[in-house]
Protein backbone atom coordinates (compact mmCIF):
# COMPACT_ATOMS: atom_id res chain seq x y z
CA UNK A 1 0.00 0.00 0.00
CA UNK A 2 2.89 2.33 -0.70
CA UNK A 3 0.64 4.47 -2.88
CA UNK A 4 -1.76 5.24 -0.07
CA UNK A 5 1.13 5.92 2.24
CA UNK A 6 2.57 8.59 -0.08
CA UNK A 7 -0.82 10.11 -0.74
CA UNK A 8 -1.42 10.93 2.90
CA UNK A 9 2.07 11.96 3.72
CA UNK A 10 2.55 15.74 3.94
CA UNK A 11 4.67 17.33 1.25
CA UNK A 12 8.18 17.94 2.52
CA UNK A 13 9.13 21.51 3.33
CA UNK A 14 12.00 21.49 0.83
CA UNK A 15 9.55 20.51 -1.90
CA UNK A 16 7.16 23.30 -0.88
CA UNK A 17 10.10 25.71 -0.90
CA UNK A 18 11.29 24.62 -4.33
CA UNK A 19 7.83 24.98 -5.87
CA UNK A 20 7.21 28.42 -4.38
CA UNK A 21 10.52 29.85 -5.50
CA UNK A 22 10.24 28.33 -8.94
CA UNK A 23 6.73 29.57 -9.63
CA UNK A 24 6.99 32.94 -7.86
CA UNK A 25 10.56 34.19 -8.28
CA UNK A 26 10.06 37.20 -5.98
CA UNK A 27 9.77 34.85 -2.98
CA UNK A 28 12.76 34.14 -0.76
CA UNK A 29 12.80 31.60 2.04
CA UNK A 30 14.26 31.29 5.48
CA UNK A 31 14.31 28.19 7.64
CA UNK A 32 13.95 28.43 11.39
CA UNK A 33 14.10 24.98 12.97
CA UNK A 34 10.91 23.21 11.79
CA UNK A 35 9.34 26.36 10.35
CA UNK A 36 9.78 27.77 6.88
CA UNK A 37 9.16 31.43 6.28
CA UNK A 38 8.70 32.85 2.78
CA UNK A 39 8.60 36.56 1.91
CA UNK A 40 7.70 37.83 -1.55
CA UNK A 41 5.57 40.29 -3.48
CA UNK A 42 2.15 39.90 -5.10
CA UNK A 43 0.28 42.31 -7.36
CA UNK A 44 -3.23 40.97 -8.03
CA UNK A 45 -3.87 43.10 -11.13
CA UNK A 46 -1.71 45.58 -13.04
CA UNK A 47 -3.72 48.41 -11.42
CA UNK A 48 -3.32 47.03 -7.89
CA UNK A 49 -0.68 47.91 -5.34
CA UNK A 50 2.23 45.52 -4.97
CA UNK A 51 2.03 43.82 -1.58
CA UNK A 52 4.89 42.31 0.37
CA UNK A 53 3.59 39.18 2.05
CA UNK A 54 4.92 36.56 4.42
CA UNK A 55 3.90 32.93 4.71
CA UNK A 56 4.94 30.89 7.76
CA UNK A 57 4.51 27.14 7.71
CA UNK A 58 5.36 24.36 10.14
CA UNK A 59 4.64 20.80 9.16
CA UNK A 60 1.48 19.62 10.83
CA UNK A 61 0.10 23.16 11.29
CA UNK A 62 -1.91 25.49 9.08
CA UNK A 63 0.15 27.98 7.07
CA UNK A 64 -0.09 31.52 8.44
CA UNK A 65 -0.23 34.46 6.07
CA UNK A 66 0.71 38.08 6.80
CA UNK A 67 0.58 41.21 4.68
CA UNK A 68 3.70 43.18 5.62
CA UNK A 69 3.26 46.22 3.40
CA UNK A 70 1.33 48.27 2.60
CA UNK A 71 -0.40 47.42 5.90
CA UNK A 72 -4.02 46.24 5.76
CA UNK A 73 -6.50 48.96 6.67
CA UNK A 74 -10.19 49.67 6.61
CA UNK A 75 -11.80 52.60 4.80
CA UNK A 76 -13.57 53.40 8.06
CA UNK A 77 -12.21 52.65 11.51
CA UNK A 78 -15.65 51.49 12.64
CA UNK A 79 -15.79 48.84 9.93
CA UNK A 80 -13.79 45.62 10.06
CA UNK A 81 -11.89 44.22 7.11
CA UNK A 82 -13.80 41.11 5.93
CA UNK A 83 -12.30 37.64 6.11
CA UNK A 84 -9.37 38.20 8.43
CA UNK A 85 -8.14 36.70 11.70
CA UNK A 86 -7.63 39.47 14.25
CA UNK A 87 -5.62 37.14 16.45
CA UNK A 88 -1.90 37.53 15.65
CA UNK A 89 -2.96 39.65 12.72
CA UNK A 90 -4.74 41.01 10.88
CA UNK A 91 -4.16 37.93 8.73
CA UNK A 92 -6.23 37.05 5.64
CA UNK A 93 -8.33 33.89 6.09
CA UNK A 94 -7.88 32.14 2.81
CA UNK A 95 -9.69 28.86 3.29
CA UNK A 96 -12.25 27.10 5.42
CA UNK A 97 -10.31 24.97 7.94
CA UNK A 98 -11.35 21.33 8.02
CA UNK A 99 -12.86 21.58 4.55
CA UNK A 100 -9.93 19.85 2.79
CA UNK A 101 -9.33 23.01 0.72
CA UNK A 102 -5.94 23.06 2.36
CA UNK A 103 -4.15 19.91 3.58
CA UNK A 104 -0.50 19.19 4.16
CA UNK A 105 -0.29 17.28 0.92
CA UNK A 106 -1.16 20.29 -1.18
CA UNK A 107 1.35 22.75 -2.52
CA UNK A 108 1.39 26.22 -0.99
CA UNK A 109 2.40 27.55 -4.41
CA UNK A 110 -0.78 26.12 -5.93
CA UNK A 111 -3.22 27.07 -3.20
CA UNK A 112 -2.23 29.59 -0.53
CA UNK A 113 -0.41 31.99 -2.87
CA UNK A 114 -3.11 32.21 -5.58
CA UNK A 115 -5.77 32.56 -2.88
CA UNK A 116 -3.78 35.33 -1.22
CA UNK A 117 -3.52 37.25 -4.48
CA UNK A 118 -7.26 36.79 -5.00
CA UNK A 119 -7.92 37.94 -1.44
CA UNK A 120 -5.84 41.06 -2.05
CA UNK A 121 -7.82 41.75 -5.24
CA UNK A 122 -11.16 41.59 -3.39
CA UNK A 123 -9.69 43.59 -0.54
CA UNK A 124 -8.79 46.45 -2.92
CA UNK A 125 -12.28 46.35 -4.47
CA UNK A 126 -13.75 46.37 -0.97
CA UNK A 127 -11.66 49.43 -0.11
CA UNK A 128 -12.89 51.08 -3.33
CA UNK A 129 -16.62 50.35 -3.17
CA UNK A 130 -17.36 48.88 0.24
CA UNK A 131 -18.48 45.56 -1.19
CA UNK A 132 -16.80 42.17 -0.88
CA UNK A 133 -17.22 40.17 -4.06
CA UNK A 134 -15.15 37.14 -3.14
CA UNK A 135 -17.98 35.50 -1.22
CA UNK A 136 -16.78 33.20 1.56
CA UNK A 137 -17.86 31.91 4.93
CA UNK A 138 -19.17 34.07 7.83
CA UNK A 139 -21.01 37.35 7.81
CA UNK A 140 -17.91 39.43 8.30
CA UNK A 141 -18.23 41.42 5.09
CA UNK A 142 -19.15 44.97 6.02
CA UNK A 143 -21.03 47.02 3.47
CA UNK A 144 -20.07 50.62 2.97
CA UNK A 145 -22.77 53.00 4.11
CA UNK A 146 -23.83 55.69 1.69
Amino acid sequence: MAHKYFKNRPIALVAQDFQIRQKFPSFVSKKLKETYCWVGTLQPTPLSSTYTVEIDYTLGYLPKVYVLSPPLRSYDEKIKIPHIYENDGPRPCLFLPGNKEWTGNKLIADTIIPWLSLWLFYYEIWLSTGEWFGEGHSSASGKKED
Binding site: P44, P97, L118, S128
Partner: protein, 373 residues
Amino acid sequence: MSNELSNNQLAYVLELICNRLQITPTQYALAEEKYKAVGNWLGAEDSPLYKYQPIIYPQGSFRIRTTVRPLGREEYDVDLVCQLLDDASIEDPMKLLDDVYDRIISNDLYKPPIAEKKNRCVCINYKGDFHLDILPARSDPQGDRNHILVPDKKTKEWKASNPIGYADWFEEKARVIIKLLEAARVEPLPRYQTLSDKLPLQQTVQLFKRWSRLAFKDDDDSMPPSIVLTTLAARNYKKELLVTAALSGVLDGILLETRNSTGPLVVLNPTNEKECLSEKWIENPKRYNKFSDALVLFKKEWDSLFLGGGMPLISAKLGKLFGEDVVRLSVNDFANEMQSKRKTEVLGIDKSGILTGLGSAVVKVKPNTFYGT
Protein backbone atom coordinates in the same frame (compact mmCIF):
# COMPACT_ATOMS: atom_id res chain seq x y z
CA MET B 1 4.19 48.55 -12.96
CA SER B 2 4.38 47.40 -16.56
CA ASN B 3 2.86 50.16 -18.64
CA GLU B 4 1.26 48.09 -21.30
CA LEU B 5 -0.43 45.76 -18.83
CA SER B 6 -1.69 48.55 -16.62
CA ASN B 7 -2.92 50.55 -19.63
CA ASN B 8 -4.91 47.57 -20.80
CA GLN B 9 -6.37 47.10 -17.37
CA LEU B 10 -7.27 50.78 -17.12
CA ALA B 11 -8.84 50.64 -20.58
CA TYR B 12 -10.88 47.69 -19.38
CA VAL B 13 -12.19 49.57 -16.34
CA LEU B 14 -12.97 52.61 -18.55
CA GLU B 15 -14.91 50.39 -20.93
CA LEU B 16 -16.94 49.10 -18.00
CA ILE B 17 -17.66 52.74 -17.13
CA CYS B 18 -18.76 53.45 -20.72
CA ASN B 19 -21.05 50.42 -20.59
CA ARG B 20 -22.64 51.74 -17.44
CA LEU B 21 -23.07 55.21 -18.94
CA GLN B 22 -24.83 54.23 -22.12
CA ILE B 23 -28.40 53.33 -22.87
CA THR B 24 -28.90 49.58 -22.30
CA PRO B 25 -29.54 47.29 -25.29
CA THR B 26 -33.08 46.69 -23.97
CA GLN B 27 -33.77 50.41 -23.77
CA TYR B 28 -32.23 50.88 -27.19
CA ALA B 29 -34.53 48.29 -28.73
CA LEU B 30 -37.51 49.73 -26.87
CA ALA B 31 -36.71 53.27 -28.07
CA GLU B 32 -36.50 52.00 -31.63
CA GLU B 33 -39.85 50.25 -31.33
CA LYS B 34 -41.46 53.34 -29.82
CA TYR B 35 -40.21 55.87 -32.35
CA LYS B 36 -41.17 53.62 -35.24
CA ALA B 37 -44.69 53.43 -33.79
CA VAL B 38 -44.79 57.25 -33.60
CA GLY B 39 -43.58 57.36 -37.21
CA ASN B 40 -46.39 55.04 -38.28
CA TRP B 41 -48.92 57.17 -36.44
CA LEU B 42 -47.68 60.36 -38.08
CA GLY B 43 -47.67 58.80 -41.53
CA ALA B 44 -50.87 56.75 -41.33
CA GLU B 45 -53.37 57.18 -44.14
CA ASP B 46 -55.86 59.01 -41.94
CA SER B 47 -53.20 61.41 -40.63
CA PRO B 48 -53.34 65.05 -41.79
CA LEU B 49 -49.59 64.71 -42.38
CA TYR B 50 -49.99 61.67 -44.63
CA LYS B 51 -49.79 63.76 -47.80
CA TYR B 52 -46.34 65.05 -46.80
CA GLN B 53 -44.86 61.54 -46.44
CA PRO B 54 -43.28 61.92 -43.00
CA ILE B 55 -40.33 59.74 -42.11
CA ILE B 56 -38.73 59.51 -38.68
CA TYR B 57 -35.10 58.73 -37.95
CA PRO B 58 -32.59 59.15 -35.11
CA GLN B 59 -30.01 61.89 -34.93
CA GLY B 60 -27.35 62.97 -32.45
CA SER B 61 -25.83 60.70 -29.81
CA PHE B 62 -28.46 58.01 -30.27
CA ARG B 63 -27.53 57.79 -33.94
CA ILE B 64 -23.75 57.81 -33.42
CA ARG B 65 -24.02 55.66 -30.28
CA THR B 66 -22.42 57.97 -27.77
CA THR B 67 -25.32 58.21 -25.32
CA VAL B 68 -24.49 59.16 -21.75
CA ARG B 69 -26.77 58.70 -18.77
CA PRO B 70 -27.87 62.19 -17.70
CA LEU B 71 -27.05 63.38 -14.18
CA GLY B 72 -29.90 63.58 -11.75
CA ARG B 73 -32.53 61.81 -13.82
CA GLU B 74 -32.98 58.38 -15.28
CA GLU B 75 -34.25 59.12 -18.76
CA TYR B 76 -31.90 59.26 -21.73
CA ASP B 77 -32.54 61.75 -24.52
CA VAL B 78 -33.30 60.07 -27.81
CA ASP B 79 -33.17 62.72 -30.52
CA LEU B 80 -35.24 62.11 -33.62
CA VAL B 81 -36.02 63.96 -36.83
CA CYS B 82 -39.47 63.84 -38.37
CA GLN B 83 -38.79 64.86 -41.94
CA LEU B 84 -41.55 65.59 -44.39
CA LEU B 85 -40.44 64.50 -47.82
CA ASP B 86 -43.17 66.11 -49.87
CA ASP B 87 -43.07 69.53 -48.32
CA ALA B 88 -43.39 72.19 -51.02
CA SER B 89 -46.28 73.88 -49.25
CA ILE B 90 -44.79 74.08 -45.76
CA GLU B 91 -43.67 77.61 -44.99
CA ASP B 92 -43.96 78.18 -41.27
CA PRO B 93 -41.76 76.11 -38.93
CA MET B 94 -43.99 76.77 -35.92
CA LYS B 95 -47.07 75.68 -37.87
CA LEU B 96 -45.29 72.44 -38.72
CA LEU B 97 -44.41 71.92 -35.04
CA ASP B 98 -48.08 72.47 -34.13
CA ASP B 99 -49.28 70.05 -36.80
CA VAL B 100 -46.90 67.32 -35.66
CA TYR B 101 -47.83 67.92 -32.02
CA ASP B 102 -51.58 67.89 -32.73
CA ARG B 103 -51.35 64.64 -34.63
CA ILE B 104 -49.25 63.01 -31.88
CA ILE B 105 -51.60 63.92 -29.04
CA SER B 106 -54.65 62.79 -31.00
CA ASN B 107 -53.47 59.30 -30.01
CA ASP B 108 -54.47 58.31 -26.47
CA LEU B 109 -51.05 56.70 -25.98
CA TYR B 110 -49.37 60.09 -26.17
CA LYS B 111 -51.93 62.29 -24.39
CA PRO B 112 -50.29 65.08 -22.38
CA PRO B 113 -48.44 65.02 -20.07
CA ILE B 114 -46.82 62.03 -21.84
CA ALA B 115 -46.25 64.21 -24.90
CA GLU B 116 -45.37 67.84 -24.49
CA LYS B 117 -44.59 70.64 -26.90
CA LYS B 118 -41.19 72.21 -26.40
CA ASN B 119 -39.53 75.23 -27.94
CA ARG B 120 -38.89 73.48 -31.25
CA CYS B 121 -39.65 69.79 -30.77
CA VAL B 122 -42.26 67.43 -29.39
CA CYS B 123 -41.11 65.39 -26.43
CA ILE B 124 -42.66 62.03 -25.56
CA ASN B 125 -41.67 60.86 -22.11
CA TYR B 126 -41.24 57.19 -21.21
CA LYS B 127 -40.68 57.40 -17.50
CA GLY B 128 -37.59 55.61 -16.26
CA ASP B 129 -36.30 54.91 -19.77
CA PHE B 130 -36.01 57.82 -22.20
CA HIS B 131 -37.51 60.90 -23.81
CA LEU B 132 -38.17 60.86 -27.51
CA ASP B 133 -37.44 64.39 -28.75
CA ILE B 134 -39.02 64.71 -32.16
CA LEU B 135 -37.77 67.61 -34.23
CA PRO B 136 -39.99 68.45 -37.23
CA ALA B 137 -38.08 69.09 -40.44
CA ARG B 138 -38.54 69.73 -44.12
CA SER B 139 -36.12 69.15 -46.92
CA ASP B 140 -33.71 71.95 -47.80
CA PRO B 141 -34.32 72.90 -51.43
CA GLN B 142 -30.64 73.93 -51.63
CA GLY B 143 -29.20 70.54 -50.78
CA ASP B 144 -29.59 66.83 -51.30
CA ARG B 145 -32.02 64.66 -49.38
CA ASN B 146 -29.94 64.69 -46.16
CA HIS B 147 -29.98 68.47 -46.00
CA ILE B 148 -32.96 69.57 -43.97
CA LEU B 149 -34.47 72.69 -42.48
CA VAL B 150 -35.46 72.64 -38.82
CA PRO B 151 -37.04 75.25 -36.54
CA ASP B 152 -34.48 77.54 -34.91
CA LYS B 153 -34.80 77.86 -31.14
CA LYS B 154 -34.37 81.63 -31.03
CA THR B 155 -35.66 83.08 -34.29
CA LYS B 156 -38.39 80.47 -34.80
CA GLU B 157 -37.39 80.54 -38.45
CA TRP B 158 -35.94 77.67 -40.49
CA LYS B 159 -32.35 76.72 -39.94
CA ALA B 160 -30.19 74.41 -42.08
CA SER B 161 -29.18 71.08 -40.58
CA ASN B 162 -27.73 67.79 -41.72
CA PRO B 163 -27.82 65.17 -38.97
CA ILE B 164 -27.23 62.21 -41.30
CA GLY B 165 -24.26 63.95 -42.88
CA TYR B 166 -22.84 64.66 -39.43
CA ALA B 167 -23.24 61.04 -38.35
CA ASP B 168 -21.52 59.87 -41.55
CA TRP B 169 -18.63 62.27 -40.86
CA PHE B 170 -18.34 60.98 -37.29
CA GLU B 171 -18.44 57.35 -38.36
CA GLU B 172 -15.65 57.99 -40.83
CA LYS B 173 -13.56 59.58 -38.06
CA ALA B 174 -14.31 56.69 -35.68
CA ARG B 175 -13.61 53.90 -38.15
CA VAL B 176 -10.59 51.73 -37.39
CA ILE B 177 -9.37 48.54 -39.01
CA ILE B 178 -11.12 45.83 -37.04
CA LYS B 179 -8.17 43.43 -37.33
CA LEU B 180 -5.88 46.01 -35.69
CA LEU B 181 -8.46 46.68 -33.03
CA GLU B 182 -8.74 42.98 -32.26
CA ALA B 183 -4.97 42.60 -32.12
CA ALA B 184 -4.76 45.47 -29.61
CA ARG B 185 -7.36 43.94 -27.35
CA VAL B 186 -5.25 41.67 -25.20
CA GLU B 187 -6.38 40.39 -21.84
CA PRO B 188 -8.32 41.50 -19.83
CA LEU B 189 -10.12 43.31 -22.64
CA PRO B 190 -12.85 41.14 -24.15
CA ARG B 191 -12.74 40.32 -27.84
CA TYR B 192 -14.30 42.84 -30.21
CA GLN B 193 -17.26 40.69 -31.08
CA THR B 194 -19.93 42.54 -32.92
CA LEU B 195 -20.22 45.85 -34.66
CA SER B 196 -22.46 46.97 -31.83
CA ASP B 197 -19.41 46.95 -29.54
CA LYS B 198 -18.18 50.48 -29.08
CA LEU B 199 -15.24 51.89 -31.00
CA PRO B 200 -12.53 53.82 -29.14
CA LEU B 201 -13.74 57.21 -30.40
CA GLN B 202 -17.31 56.48 -29.29
CA GLN B 203 -16.05 55.59 -25.81
CA THR B 204 -13.85 58.67 -25.76
CA VAL B 205 -16.81 60.90 -26.56
CA GLN B 206 -18.90 59.26 -23.84
CA LEU B 207 -16.20 59.90 -21.24
CA PHE B 208 -15.53 63.44 -22.46
CA LYS B 209 -19.23 64.33 -22.32
CA ARG B 210 -19.63 62.75 -18.91
CA TRP B 211 -16.65 64.64 -17.55
CA SER B 212 -18.02 67.93 -18.91
CA ARG B 213 -21.47 67.42 -17.42
CA LEU B 214 -19.94 66.77 -14.02
CA ALA B 215 -17.43 69.60 -14.28
CA PHE B 216 -20.19 72.08 -15.19
CA LYS B 217 -23.05 70.58 -13.21
CA ASP B 218 -23.49 73.75 -11.17
CA ASP B 219 -22.90 76.09 -14.09
CA ASP B 220 -25.37 75.21 -16.80
CA ASP B 221 -24.67 78.41 -18.68
CA SER B 222 -21.04 77.46 -19.27
CA MET B 223 -21.65 73.80 -20.09
CA PRO B 224 -20.32 73.16 -23.61
CA PRO B 225 -22.94 71.66 -25.95
CA SER B 226 -22.50 67.92 -26.60
CA ILE B 227 -22.03 68.50 -30.31
CA VAL B 228 -19.07 70.81 -29.63
CA LEU B 229 -17.36 68.18 -27.46
CA THR B 230 -18.14 65.42 -29.96
CA THR B 231 -16.80 67.44 -32.88
CA LEU B 232 -13.64 68.48 -31.00
CA ALA B 233 -12.99 64.88 -29.98
CA ALA B 234 -13.60 63.49 -33.46
CA ARG B 235 -11.43 66.03 -35.24
CA ASN B 236 -8.52 65.33 -32.86
CA TYR B 237 -8.82 61.54 -32.88
CA LYS B 238 -5.92 59.76 -34.56
CA LYS B 239 -7.29 56.21 -34.75
CA GLU B 240 -5.82 55.07 -31.44
CA LEU B 241 -7.00 51.56 -30.64
CA LEU B 242 -7.60 51.74 -26.89
CA VAL B 243 -9.77 54.28 -25.11
CA THR B 244 -6.85 55.18 -22.83
CA ALA B 245 -4.65 56.28 -25.73
CA ALA B 246 -7.62 57.76 -27.61
CA LEU B 247 -8.73 60.07 -24.81
CA SER B 248 -5.11 61.04 -24.06
CA GLY B 249 -4.60 61.93 -27.72
CA VAL B 250 -7.86 63.84 -27.96
CA LEU B 251 -7.08 65.88 -24.84
CA ASP B 252 -3.58 66.67 -26.13
CA GLY B 253 -5.03 67.71 -29.48
CA ILE B 254 -7.70 69.99 -28.04
CA LEU B 255 -5.23 71.55 -25.59
CA LEU B 256 -2.91 72.29 -28.49
CA GLU B 257 -5.81 73.92 -30.35
CA THR B 258 -6.61 76.08 -27.33
CA ARG B 259 -2.98 77.14 -26.94
CA ASN B 260 -2.72 78.08 -30.61
CA SER B 261 -5.93 80.07 -30.58
CA THR B 262 -6.02 83.71 -29.56
CA GLY B 263 -9.73 83.72 -28.72
CA PRO B 264 -12.46 81.17 -28.18
CA LEU B 265 -12.08 78.07 -30.37
CA VAL B 266 -14.16 78.12 -33.51
CA VAL B 267 -15.87 74.77 -33.95
CA LEU B 268 -17.58 74.62 -37.33
CA ASN B 269 -20.13 72.04 -38.25
CA PRO B 270 -18.12 69.67 -40.46
CA THR B 271 -21.12 69.17 -42.74
CA ASN B 272 -21.99 72.84 -42.97
CA GLU B 273 -19.07 75.21 -42.63
CA LYS B 274 -21.45 78.15 -42.42
CA GLU B 275 -22.67 76.92 -39.07
CA CYS B 276 -20.56 77.73 -36.00
CA LEU B 277 -21.28 75.19 -33.27
CA SER B 278 -19.31 77.08 -30.64
CA GLU B 279 -21.43 80.26 -30.86
CA LYS B 280 -21.95 80.06 -27.12
CA TRP B 281 -18.22 80.65 -26.60
CA ILE B 282 -17.93 83.43 -29.16
CA GLU B 283 -20.91 85.23 -27.58
CA ASN B 284 -19.35 85.06 -24.14
CA PRO B 285 -15.63 84.23 -24.00
CA LYS B 286 -15.84 83.75 -20.21
CA ARG B 287 -17.63 80.46 -20.88
CA TYR B 288 -14.80 79.41 -23.14
CA ASN B 289 -12.16 80.39 -20.57
CA LYS B 290 -13.90 78.24 -17.99
CA PHE B 291 -13.85 75.34 -20.43
CA SER B 292 -10.18 75.70 -21.31
CA ASP B 293 -9.21 76.01 -17.62
CA ALA B 294 -11.27 72.96 -16.73
CA LEU B 295 -9.68 71.05 -19.60
CA VAL B 296 -6.16 71.68 -18.27
CA LEU B 297 -7.25 70.28 -14.93
CA PHE B 298 -8.92 67.30 -16.60
CA LYS B 299 -5.70 66.48 -18.44
CA LYS B 300 -3.71 66.65 -15.21
CA GLU B 301 -6.12 64.36 -13.36
CA TRP B 302 -6.40 62.02 -16.33
CA ASP B 303 -2.61 61.70 -16.59
CA SER B 304 -2.37 60.90 -12.90
CA LEU B 305 -4.50 57.78 -13.47
CA PHE B 306 -1.49 56.26 -15.22
CA LEU B 307 0.68 56.61 -12.11
CA GLY B 308 -1.00 53.65 -10.42
CA GLY B 309 -1.22 53.59 -6.63
CA GLY B 310 -3.69 50.74 -6.28
CA MET B 311 -7.37 50.26 -7.13
CA PRO B 312 -8.76 52.33 -4.23
CA LEU B 313 -6.81 55.40 -5.35
CA ILE B 314 -7.57 54.84 -9.04
CA SER B 315 -11.29 54.33 -8.33
CA ALA B 316 -11.38 57.52 -6.29
CA LYS B 317 -9.76 59.48 -9.12
CA LEU B 318 -12.10 57.92 -11.69
CA GLY B 319 -15.05 58.76 -9.46
CA LYS B 320 -14.01 62.38 -9.31
CA LEU B 321 -13.70 62.57 -13.10
CA PHE B 322 -16.71 60.53 -14.23
CA GLY B 323 -19.03 60.24 -11.22
CA GLU B 324 -18.76 58.21 -8.02
CA ASP B 325 -21.92 56.20 -8.58
CA VAL B 326 -21.10 55.00 -12.06
CA VAL B 327 -17.51 54.21 -11.08
CA ARG B 328 -18.63 52.22 -8.06
CA LEU B 329 -20.95 50.16 -10.28
CA SER B 330 -18.18 49.63 -12.83
CA VAL B 331 -15.58 48.58 -10.26
CA ASN B 332 -18.14 46.13 -8.90
CA ASP B 333 -18.63 44.84 -12.47
CA PHE B 334 -14.88 44.31 -12.62
CA ALA B 335 -15.00 42.27 -9.38
CA ASN B 336 -18.01 40.28 -10.56
CA GLU B 337 -16.21 39.44 -13.77
CA MET B 338 -13.24 38.13 -11.75
CA GLN B 339 -15.58 36.16 -9.50
CA SER B 340 -17.26 34.50 -12.46
CA LYS B 341 -13.88 33.50 -13.95
CA ARG B 342 -12.94 32.06 -10.59
CA LYS B 343 -16.18 30.11 -10.37
CA THR B 344 -15.84 28.67 -13.84
CA GLU B 345 -12.23 27.80 -13.02
CA VAL B 346 -10.65 29.70 -15.88
CA LEU B 347 -8.66 31.96 -13.57
CA GLY B 348 -4.90 31.63 -13.17
CA ILE B 349 -2.09 33.59 -11.62
CA ASP B 350 1.21 34.57 -13.18
CA LYS B 351 4.62 34.71 -11.57
CA SER B 352 4.02 38.23 -10.17
CA GLY B 353 0.75 37.22 -8.58
CA ILE B 354 -1.35 38.85 -11.30
CA LEU B 355 -4.72 37.17 -11.79
CA THR B 356 -5.05 36.27 -15.41
CA GLY B 357 -6.50 33.84 -17.91
CA LEU B 358 -4.99 30.38 -18.03
CA GLY B 359 -2.78 31.21 -21.02
CA SER B 360 -0.05 33.12 -19.20
CA ALA B 361 -0.58 31.52 -15.80
CA VAL B 362 1.90 29.50 -13.79
CA VAL B 363 -0.85 28.16 -11.54
CA LYS B 364 -4.59 27.80 -11.92
CA VAL B 365 -6.61 29.27 -9.04
CA LYS B 366 -8.27 26.37 -7.23
CA PRO B 367 -11.63 26.72 -5.48
CA ASN B 368 -11.47 28.05 -1.91
CA THR B 369 -13.72 29.66 0.69
CA PHE B 370 -12.55 32.87 2.37
CA TYR B 371 -13.17 32.38 6.03
CA GLY B 372 -13.02 34.64 9.02
CA THR B 373 -14.60 35.77 12.17
